[in-house]
């Protein structure tokens, strides 16, 4: 049976040690909360995927959430953590202004290593009502300072669960919208391709220098440029040869 593969989007958590990134991850993965920062509880956890169905459509999208593994505790995070991410959530603790003010540094890392990622701002520990020291105004001001690089501002509490699911759903929605736009642009590119390219076998090839020849070369070079993941390539192998007859 042919199954349509749901596109997976890598989303990373970024921010200071102890602001609740792993708690967000836990909430996302199995909707639990561990009171003391119990490192043991996240041992071996790498990333977790969850499918979001888009409202009023048949489209779905899989958020693949990544946690830092605690690398930021003493050292810096590897640059490869950021690579291939479609979205980054900048997390700080609402009761810790220091964790908020240092975000510009984290933001710099994101734009350096994951140029095209959408960026979201998340103030966590919203349940500590009386101890909250970072105001909505400050969050908005920060967002404005970053030339509106932020695609969304959220307040969450991992302890109560408040706002967490709403945030991830909103991020899924936004990524889905962007995907649709990219796909449309991509399809319109194909309509520009010369119809000669769909030649039946045995038909004389387009002469060198003609536009058909050129676009064929461009298509080929697109093909050459493709990269792959070893594990996925292996899976494909196991599922038998694909139908490509070229």
């Amino acid at each position: 049976m042919a199954t349509v593969k749901i596109p997976a989007q890598k989303v990373i958590l970024v921010g200071e040690y102890g602001v609740g990134k792993s708690s967000l991850f836990r909430r996302f993965a199995n909707d639990t909360f561990v009171r003391a920062s119990d490192r043991q509880s996240t041992l071996g956890l790498d990333n977790f995927g969850k499918v979001y169905q888009m409202k009023d459509t048949d489209r779905a999208l899989k958020l693949q959430l990544w946690d830092t593994g605690g690398m930021e505790r003493v050292a810096s995070i590897t640059s490869s953590y950021y690579k291939y991410s479609e979205a980054a959530i900048l997390v700080f603790a609402l009761d810790r202004p220091d964790s908020f003010h240092v975000l510009s540094q984290h933001l710099l890392d994101i734009v350096t290593y994951a140029e095209n990622a959408k960026i979201f701002l998340c103030g966590n520990k919203f349940d500590l009502k009386s101890r909250i020291q970072v105001t909505d105004g400050e969050m908005e001001a920060f967002s404005e300072q970053c030339h509106n690089l932020m695609s969304g501002l959220y307040k969450t509490s991992c302890k109560t669960g408040e706002g967490v699911e709403e945030m991830f759903r909103d991020i899924a929605n936004q990524l889905s919208e962007t995907n649709r736009f990219v796909l449309k642009t991509f399809m319109s590119l194909f309509t520009l391709v010369d119809p000669d390219l769909m030649l039946p076998p045995g038909h004389p090839r387009p002469e060198i220098g003609t536009s058909a020849h050129r676009s064929k070369i461009e298509l080929q070079s697109l093909e050459e440029a493709r990269s792959f993941r070893i594990d996925q390539a292996l899976e494909a192998d196991e599922n038998g040869p694909n139908d490509c007859s070229c």
Binding site: G44, N47, S79, K83, T112, I230
Partner: protein, 442 residues
């Protein structure tokens, strides 16, 4: 860092990062430190480009080379055998999910008269190749079929070749391969850098040829893979593996002393802090008095604004110059990757030439390689000593890895890692300790 650990790992090169990952996965409490402020040590990919110029004391460039942070330049040129040990390690540890790869497009070898020829990737290419004459091709084909069917466990496939006794020279003779073909097989397929192997039992050579052809069968054009954003992604991937299994990371940490008591490792000192541990793992640079020099490698990094001549404009290539063609003891390797691997700015190419140093004038030694590159925009030369540990660490619990050698892939590195793991823990690494996802964990 004033804590107790099972293991302390010094240096974040690929060997140490794989080690650290395997130790953490096996349940050890690991502290992993590096004196540099970046991950990767010698196996890092330098970025932005300015870092590379600074490292070699060259004034930083103007905007000729495009945007500096589009560059990730490896210091040690290596490719990954598609069916080799490293790929197995990547798959079994799950680290492969952090990486994307591309196949290296072409593999070439310098033949008679200094001409470079494509190493045939399939039968059709083999038949049309001008590497050898028609009759020689038939003999070569018979030889390949023999290697493919050869099973060390099944004497029926041996055709009277005892893999433990019969030398490779005798195998060449048996199949009537001429000296050029034998040279091609030994250096371009078995990837030996000198000719010592010919007098040794043929088992290893046959394994290597098989690895080459199995790797080739995997993704097509060449047996090699290369990770996007450079080789520096590999140590980082294994470091993450270690971290998610509880390993602690510290960078930018000067390492002043490996503390010994009664002939055994008890900790590592940085300034006035001491972290205690039972075992230390490190690269040779952290234990200079415990290693011996076994050779020297010259590596030359060249920035080009064109692909290599005579390679059909391939965007990635390897060219092997067998020692005999240039009257040397060891081969010269030329590797090239480019902007399609996210290691250079659009339109730029990075070629590297490497070989074992044999004379007092190593720059002269790599000239045959430089001759193949065409115009070079910028050139950096580095000479590195190759070290080996003086002892295997089982007595003092200090386990030192070998320096990265001049081979073009990571087979020797992986053998070293698995060997150190076994020396340190007394057992083989158990891949089933790796949980691949949350479901496995619960």
């Amino acid at each position: 860092m004033d804590e107790d650990y099972d293991c302390i790992v010094l240096g974040t090169g690929l060997t140490e990062c794989i080690m650290s990952g395997m130790l953490s996965v096996s349940g050890k409490k690991v502290l992993h430190m590096d004196r540099n402020k970046y991950y990767g040590g010698e196996s890092a990919s330098l970025t932005p480009l300015e870092e590379l110029f600074t490292k070699f004391g060259v004034p930083t460039p103007d905007d000729t080379f495009g945007r500096g942070r589009d560059w990730n330049v490896d210091l040690i040129p290596k490719f990954i055998m598609a069916n080799g040990q490293l790929v197995k390690l990547l798959i079994h540890t799950g680290v492969t999910r952090y990486l994307e790869f591309k196949s290296i497009e072409g593999s070439y070898v310098m033949g008679k008269s200094g001409k470079i020829c494509k190493v045939p990737a399939d039968e059709r290419e083999a038949l049309s190749s001008d590497l050898m004459g028609l009759f020689e091709k038939r003999r070569f084909k018979n030889f390949l079929v023999f290697v493919q069917d050869f099973d060390p466990k099944d004497p029926k496939t041996w055709k009277d070749v005892d893999p433990q006794k019969c030398t490779m020279d005798e195998v060449y003779k048996k199949f009537g391969l001429d000296p050029n073909t034998a040279d091609f097989v030994g250096h371009a397929l078995a990837l030996y850098r000198d000719d010592d192997y010919r007098q040794k039992p043929c088992q290893e050579a046959l394994d290597r040829i098989k690895l080459y052809s199995d790797s080739l069968a995997r993704y097509g054009k060449s047996p090699y893979l290369y990770p996007l954003y450079g080789l520096g992604e590999l140590p980082q991937g294994f470091a993450r593996l270690s971290a998610i299994y509880g390993g602690t990371y510290m960078l930018d940490k000067p390492i002043d002393e490996i503390v010994m008591e009664g002939g055994k490792v008890v900790g590592v000192r940085s300034g006035d802090q001491i972290a205690k541990c039972k075992q230390v793992f490190c690269d040779p640079s952290y234990a200079p008095t415990q290693v011996r020099k076994v050779g020297q490698v010259i590596r030359c990094i060249c920035l080009l604004d064109h692909p290599l001549p005579n390679t059909k404009d391939a965007l990635s290539t390897q060219i092997i110059i067998p020692q005999k063609q240039v009257n040397r003891q060891s081969d010269i390797y030329v590797t090239m990757v480019s902007y399609t691997h996210q290691v250079a700015s659009k339109g730029w190419f990075i070629a590297m030439i490497s070989t074992n140093v044999e004379t007092d004038n190593p720059e002269q030694e790599i000239q045959p390689g430089l001759n193949l590159l065409g115009p070079i925009k910028q050139k950096f030369i580095q000479l590195s000593d190759v070290y080996e540990p003086q002892n295997d660490g089982t007595d003092n619990q200090l386990f030192i890895s070998k320096s990265y050698d001049a081979t073009s892939h990571f087979q020797t590195t992986c053998v070293d890692v698995l060997d150190i793991f076994k020396r340190a823990t007394g057992e083989e690494f158990d891949f089933t300790n790796v949980k691949h996802n949350l479901e496995d964990q619960e």
